[in-house]
């Protein structure tokens, strides 16, 4: 499809309004920088992390519970942010953990976004029973919070995936679980906008001259909803990262041998009372910083994309 108008328009918007609003908002700049630093650190974790926490042959259990910046009593090893209960360098586990959290978050949101946009476009454009069925499914889905849906999907996955592959599949199951529980918001926004656009004269005209519905939807309807979709997506990213942490807390997340930030927090909270604060504190702060930055960006983006609020 030779559609250059959409990115062009978005780009111009970015160039003028959005960038201006960004420059004017110190909070947006700070959160943008924080988010960028965490994302980059996670992407390049293998290059910058002091150790590879996934490589069991490099671990020494006796390093366990080494406090930050202090040598271990048995091994003499020292770690900037301390070592966790398995003797892993906390800094490295955070870098690798953020990688997994971000991967799960981005993939889940992308999955939800694609699913929600398709469902919303189809429901809004076709109307009738298709719309009724899709929206009833959305209603049912909304009655179950994401955590519950994810637990259900884990249950289904358990039935289908052979035990030997559950570990490797865990991360994909997590993505599907969080994504599936999150598509409704996208679908509703897109459906609403589609129904508004559908009744406009230019769409009616295009339909009369035989432009395919898919083309109408992608070319005329979709660009109009990209703003809200982007906002929902950004806030959804923060929610997805937190959902992953909560699922890991309930014990259905990624395995502890390849921890995400959520798994690290689950492990760390066991040591809240015993004085090994660094195992909980540093992953929790990273998660907080990441989710907060993404939330603030989403917030700012919504205001920026809604000219009436400026």
């Amino acid at each position: 499809m030779s559609d250059t108008r959409t990115p062009g328009r978005l780009f111009r918007m970015w160039d003028n309004d959005i960038a201006y609003s960004f420059r004017k908002s110190p909070l947006a700049i700070v959160s943008g920088v924080v988010a960028l630093v965490i994302v980059l650190a996670a992407v390049f974790a293998p290059l910058i992390a002091p150790t590879n926490p996934y490589d069991p042959s490099g671990l020494n259990l006796m390093d366990g519970f080494t406090p930050p910046m202090a040598p271990n009593a048995f091994t003499g090893n020292s770690f900037v942010l301390g070592a966790d209960n398995q003797g892993r360098d906390v800094l490295s586990t955070i870098l690798y953990g953020a990688r997994i959290s971000l991967f799960v978050g981005f993939s889940a949101v992308l999955f939800a976004m694609v699913l929600g946009i398709v469902a919303g476009l189809v429901a809004g454009y076709r109307g009738g029973w298709v719309d009724a069925v899709l929206m009833r499914i959305a209603d049912v889905q909304l009655s179950f919070p994401s955590i519950l849906i994810a637990l259900l999907i884990f249950g289904v996955a358990r039935g289908f995936i052979p035990p030997s592959q559950r570990e490797t599949m865990a991360i994909w199951v997590l993505i599907v679980a969080i994504g599936l529980s999150d598509w409704v918001q996208f679908a509703r926004v897109v459906r609403g906008a589609t129904m508004v656009e559908k009744s406009k004269e230019y769409v009616q005209a295009a339909r009369v001259i035989g432009v395919s519905p898919a083309r109408i939807l992608l070319r005329h309807v979709l660009p109009n909803v990209m703003g809200p979709v982007l906002v929902i997506g950004t806030i959804g990213l923060a929610l997805a990262i937190i959902a992953e942490a909560t699922l890991s807390f309930l014990g259905v997340g990624v395995p502890p041998t390849q921890p995400s930030l959520g798994t690290l927090i689950r492990i760390g909270q066991q040591y809240l009372f015993s004085g090994e604060w660094w195992i909980l504190l540093f992953p929790a702060l990273t998660l907080l910083a990441l989710a907060l930055a993404v939330n603030l960006l989403g917030d700012w983006l919504r205001d920026a994309l809604n000219p009436r609020l400026r």
Partner: protein, 328 residues
């Protein structure tokens, strides 16, 4: 009107049936209920016999039919784990969850609306910005972590508030067990209610703020100002009143979410409600309780949804079935 109501009720019934199917099918095949019912030393033959007696070897359709038939009579069987009728268990635990949900929902509503109005009317400035930022910290921390941190701070370090449970309770006529009437019951409620309500409060606050900002730019408000009405009347008499309709709708719809989110809060605080009952049942693969819980949550939501639908219809016939589109 009648046709509309019938259609909605039929749709709701179908929704319930689908939920029942999902609830039954999923948990029927997760884990092995037999294993949670018998000790480690029970022989394989005994297990198989128990399986047959419980009807777990029957075809799926027969098991599901039996499930729906019983569910309609409020009979979800006996909890494998606690060996009590499931319905009785859920009704015993429901007051705890509803009281928690009510308090945290009300607190979230009152605080959320106040903060939302305040930040909408004062868009620039240090305090509104701080409130907006602080509200984001609340949603950026996982619920379980907030709960544990609150326990650590207020129960262990400061020793101001209890760390778990409901405290002393009083049974009202009709069987409702309440924690509102004792001081330990009220104290026990504080930390779980904060944990559970924080997210909803943020949601409501942001919604109110956004709606207020929208309403404040409408012509109708401009006319009101032009007429020389004082700010106070404009803001609270007109703008807020208009804002509250969607806010109350969303809050109503969120009630189901609060009850379900109570799972995590109740786990952390050992709150004896249906959420803790559910997660304990998941851990022990107590199928009847899990199925009943899912159906219950869906029922609550479907009923709220139905009422909202009918109210919309009554208030504004133009909305008809299109109200979903108008809800954003």
């Amino acid at each position: 009107m009648l046709a509309f109501i019938i259609r909605r009720v039929v749709q709701s019934a179908i929704v319930m049936l689908v939920v029942a199917l999902v609830a039954f099918a999923l948990f029927r095949y997760v884990g092995d209920p037999i294993n949670s019912m018998v000790g480690q030393e029970t022989s394989l033959a005994d297990r198989e016999a128990l399986r047959t007696r419980l009807g777990l070897n029957d075809p799926f359709v027969i098991q599901f039919g039996r499930f729906v038939g019983n569910a309609l009579q409020g009979n979800f069987g006996i909890s494998y784990r606690l060996q009590q009728p499931v319905m009785e268990l859920i009704l015993q635990r429901l007051p705890a969850t509803l009281e928690l949900a009510l308090v945290s929902g009300l607190a979230a509503f009152i605080l959320g609306v106040s903060a939302g109005v305040y930040t909408a009317l004062n868009r620039r400035g240090v305090i509104p910005s701080a409130i907006m930022a602080a509200s984001l910290i609340g949603v950026s921390l996982p619920t379980f972590l907030i709960g544990i941190l609150l326990i650590w701070l207020f129960a262990v370090e400061l020793q101001w508030l209890p760390s778990f449970g409901r405290g002393d309770t009083v049974t009202l006529p009709g069987g409702w067990v309440t924690g509102f009437l004792t001081s330990s019951g009220r104290q026990s409620l504080i930390l779980p209610a904060i944990t559970l309500g924080l997210f909803q409060m943020t949601l409501i606050m942001r919604l109110v703020r956004a709606e207020m900002l929208e309403v404040l730019r409408t012509d109708y408000i401009k006319f009101a100002r032009a007429r020389g009405l004082p700010n106070r009347t404009v803001h609270f008499g007109h703008a807020l009143k208009n804002t509250l309709v969607p806010v109350i709708t969303i809050t109503g719809l969120q009630l189901g979410a609060i009850i379900a989110f109570a799972i995590i809060t109740e786990t952390v605080f050992q709150w004896p409600g249906v959420g803790a009952l559910f997660i304990n049942s998941v851990r022990a693969v107590d199928v009847p309780v899990m199925a009943a819980y899912l159906v219950l949550i869906a029922l609550i939501f479907v009923i709220i949804n139905l009422i909202v639908d009918l109210l919309y219809y009554a208030v504004d016939p133009r909305l008809r079935v299109e109200r979903s589109a108008a809800r954003h």
